[in-house]
């Protein structure tokens, strides 16, 4: 995946939406390179169980760096169908590969209409530039 293909939340999560074989829409979710750089060295990640129902804008887990603990917010409504269990042991490498190996969870989307509320790459870049100021 490339950053240009993704949708973003204002809280820096990314989502990559594709159809699974049954036709359901699946969002793969991670955290943007911009956010990972701000967090600096990561020490711990707490991800939800498979089957957990999540809502757009609500916390689905936590990520802890040497600086702070931050909530991870779900970009979509739906149900967690897969969790990247390998991530916890590879946090040091996450910032180098945030968009492929660095995914956190896959969520079966319950309400596609909410995707319209997410930012595209250009809008997200603009928000990051504003935060930089």
């Amino acid at each position: 995946m490339t950053p240009e293909q993704l949708l973003y939340t204002k809280s820096h999560e990314w989502a990559y939406v594709q159809d699974d074989p049954s036709g359901a829409k699946i969002a793969t979710v991670g955290l943007s390179a911009f956010a990972l750089e701000l967090l600096t060295d990561l020490v711990y990640v707490d991800l939800p169980e498979v089957g957990r129902r999540v809502s757009a804008g609500e916390p689905l887990g936590e990520i802890e760096s040497v600086k702070a603990v931050s909530d991870l917010y779900s970009p979509v409504d739906g149900e967690v169908v897969e969790v990247n269990t390998a991530l916890a042991d590879n946090l040091a490498g996450l910032a180098d590969d945030p968009y492929d190996a660095g995914w956190f969870v896959k969520i079966r989307i319950a309400d596609e209409s909410l995707l319209a509320g997410l930012l595209d790459y250009a809008a997200y870049q603009k928000q990051c530039a504003e935060e930089e100021h």
Binding site: L38, D41, V43, V66, K67, A68, A92
Partner: protein, 483 residues
């Protein structure tokens, strides 16, 4: 001086048979221990305690103590922590036999002096807060936050209202959401504007009939007074919510304005920040809370009351949330606070705050020429500088600056807080520092920003321990000694 011998772990220095004291031969008949104690009370082996001589132990702890930086040894501009110098007089007064030799189960008529001191403390804290009812029980600031939120929850329960959402600005101390969660409430963040104030539009959008409390810090963690605080408290009240003031920054406003006057319904004090009680190391702390009249019935039990010329503990408080601490709170800490407040008096406390704000603004004026301060040309008692440009231009981070300042003989400011400022350095000089100290610190800070990145990345160079591996320590902490 790096004395590595004496600062090794006591376990590493242990030599079998070493003793601090050698007892004379026992001159009473010895009996086997299993005759004296039931078998369940006897350990299988003696505890593996280190064996050392008395001088070894004394040197160990005295040497360790010299590796520490404290406000008694160094300027300590740790933002948000208000590391003011604590007068030693208050330590002496709180150690008087009449203070320390009391027992909490003594009959109340034999401890009238202490009860009077506690009652007067309640009255003084109420006056400073502009809120009439006080509980001295909570054992720390965060404990005060949680206690006040339990009071708020009891108030809404009593009114039959289902309100459980706590709104918290994104610049708040991390204790705010933690306390709200511990009190069984749900937290919702409120954004800040680019100028560093609470975003009123975002606040208004998040207020509804589920809103229990807005927790606000004023001045906020950027060291800015929320100019629209009256409007903020008004719209929260209009939505049926209460306003909690995080009193961590009271050192900026004492005698100038009062939380009750700008619309807060509940607040806590940090005596260790504002009123000269010890910053840690002195045992448990205190986090008294003050609340508005309509919340008073729900305060913890007991409260000290005055009947004629007598003082007593009032346990007859049917709506109280109950106890949050054994006995009457951490009385020793409250005694130091009482002495501090009486020493200064009303005008004196106002001077404390005025000088805290003056010192911070003087330092701000010196620092912002070489280290950008994103939020404002003026501040209250502290300000937040940013090393973001230094990081981009020279690969010098806030952490590098903080570490290098130790080599220059200054404790580091708070770094990476609040989270809304990149590469944050939060600087709070307090009112107890001289202009000469502030100048020396500003000059050291400037010199550090001019030094090479290579030198800074390995700093500190003069301390016994340079840079602990923070990531490894967080991921794989070694919490106990093993042979």
């Amino acid at each position: 001086m790096r004395n590595t011998q004496a600062t090794k772990l006591l376990f590493e220095q242990s030599k079998p048979g070493c003793r601090g004291v050698r007892l004379p031969e026992c001159d009473v008949p010895e009996r086997p221990i299993d005759e004296l104690l039931p078998s369940g009370a006897i350990a299988e082996a003696p505890p593996p305690l280190p064996e050392l001589s008395e001088p070894d132990v004394v040197r160990h702890f005295v040497n360790l103590s010299t590796l520490n930086m404290s406000v008694d040894t160094h300027f300590y501009p740790l933002g948000s922590c208000t590391m003011k110098y604590n007068p030693k007089r208050n330590e002496r007064l709180s150690s008087l036999p009449g203070m320390v030799d009391l027992h909490p189960y003594q009959p109340q008529q034999t401890v009238q002096g202490t009860l009077e001191l506690l009652w007067r403390s309640q009255e003084m804290l109420a006056e400073i807060a502009g809120l009439p009812a006080v509980s001295l029980q909570p054992a720390a600031g965060a404990h005060g936050e949680m206690t006040a939120l339990l009071v708020a929850a009891a108030y809404f329960r009593d009114r039959g209202e289902k309100r459980s959402v706590v709104l918290i600005p994104d610049g708040a101390h991390g204790t705010n959401p933690a306390s709200a969660t511990m009190a069984g409430m749900k937290t919702v963040p409120v954004r800040s504007t680019n100028d560093g104030y609470v975003d009123l539009d975002d606040l208004a959008a998040k207020l509804n009939d589920r809103t229990a409390v807005l927790m606000i810090t004023n001045p906020n963690t950027l060291g800015i007074f929320e100019e629209k605080i009256a409007e903020i408290t008004q719209i929260v009240h209009a939505a049926g919510g209460l306003v909690y003031l995080d009193g961590a920054n009271m050192n900026a406003i004492m005698g100038v304005t009062r939380p009750g006057d700008f619309g807060a319904d509940l607040m806590h004090y940090n005596p260790h920040k504002t009123f000269g009680s010890p910053h840690g190391g002195g045992g448990p702390g205190a986090g008294p809370i003050a609340v508005a009249e309509h919340l008073a019935p729900f305060l913890p039990t007991p409260i000290v009351v005055k009947d004629g010329d007598c003082y007593r503990l009032d346990y007859d408080r049917p709506n109280s949330i109950g106890r949050v601490r054994s006995f009457f709170g951490t009385v020793g800490v409250l005694v130091r606070m009482y002495c501090y407040i009486l020493t200064h008096g009303g005008d004196g406390l106002r001077h404390v705050s005025e000088n805290a704000v003056l010192c911070a603004n003087y330092l701000l004026a010196r620092v912002r020429h070489f280290l950008p301060v994103p939020h404002g040309k003026r501040c209250m008692h502290e300000f937040v500088a940013s090393a973001a440009k230094l990081k981009a231009d020279k690969d010098i981070s806030a952490m590098d600056i903080a570490k290098r300042l130790l080599d220059h003989g200054f404790h580091a400011p708070t770094v990476y807080f609040p989270l809304i400022v990149r590469e944050a350095l939060m600087i709070e000089p307090t009112e107890t520092e001289s202009k000469a100290t502030l100048d020396a610190f500003a000059e050291a800070l400037f010199r550090v920003t001019e030094e090479s990145a290579e030198l800074l990345h390995d700093a500190p160079h003069t301390t016994a321990v340079s840079r602990p591996e923070e990531v490894a320590a967080a991921r794989n902490p070694i919490l106990r000694w093993t042979p």
